[in-house]
Symmetry: C2
């Protein structure tokens, strides 16, 4: 037997979970919501929906988009987004430890 | 901001989570899978599916059903099921503390 689980940060509603953190990191890496969506096998529409939802729920913007240019501009993440990514990952590490400690106890 | 999450015990697959624990407790309380399902606003069919799935995944049976009698007999849970319920609830308490501690850290 093994304990498993998921955690997420809520604002009014579900706000940042593991999928959205991955999306933000890929936007940072690729400079593009489209490329990030492709890497995650996610539709362009869904990725934009998630970005809009995150930007609306957050008190400060998380993803900035630039329009114009040959391919419609790119996207960057803000310092606030980076802060959230870092916080989520630190918590996720402690959560993994919690799950592994509790799994050991289950076997005793 | 608030940290929230869900945990479950896995065997080969997802095995016991908060919904299944509630179902087992209601079977214990009402002596009937039907009554337990009704209390949870769950269909008879879904509750039986969950019970069968739990019994199949577990090395020891968790729910015993009796056939016969006017209303088709009742259901009881085994000591093994009670042990799992207790383990899940203890872990859930520690998980709540984890979530609340991490929520406090988010606000610092």
């Amino acid at each position: 037997m093994k304990l498993n689980g998921r955690i997420w940060i809520e604002e009014s509603d579900k706000f940042i979970g593991i999928g959205r953190v991955e999306l933000l990191e890929l936007i940072k890496k690729t400079g593009s919501i489209n490329k990030a969506a492709q890497t995650m096998n996610m539709s362009y529409k869904k990725a934009w929906g998630l970005v809009n939802s995150m930007n609306e729920q957050s008190s400060k913007p998380l993803v900035l988009t630039q329009t114009g240019g040959e391919k419609g501009g790119g996207a960057t993440i803000t310092d606030e987004a980076q802060r959230l990514i870092d916080a989520y990952k630190e918590i996720q590490e402690r959560f993994k430890k919690f799950l592994s400690d509790e799994t050991s106890k289950l076997h005793r």
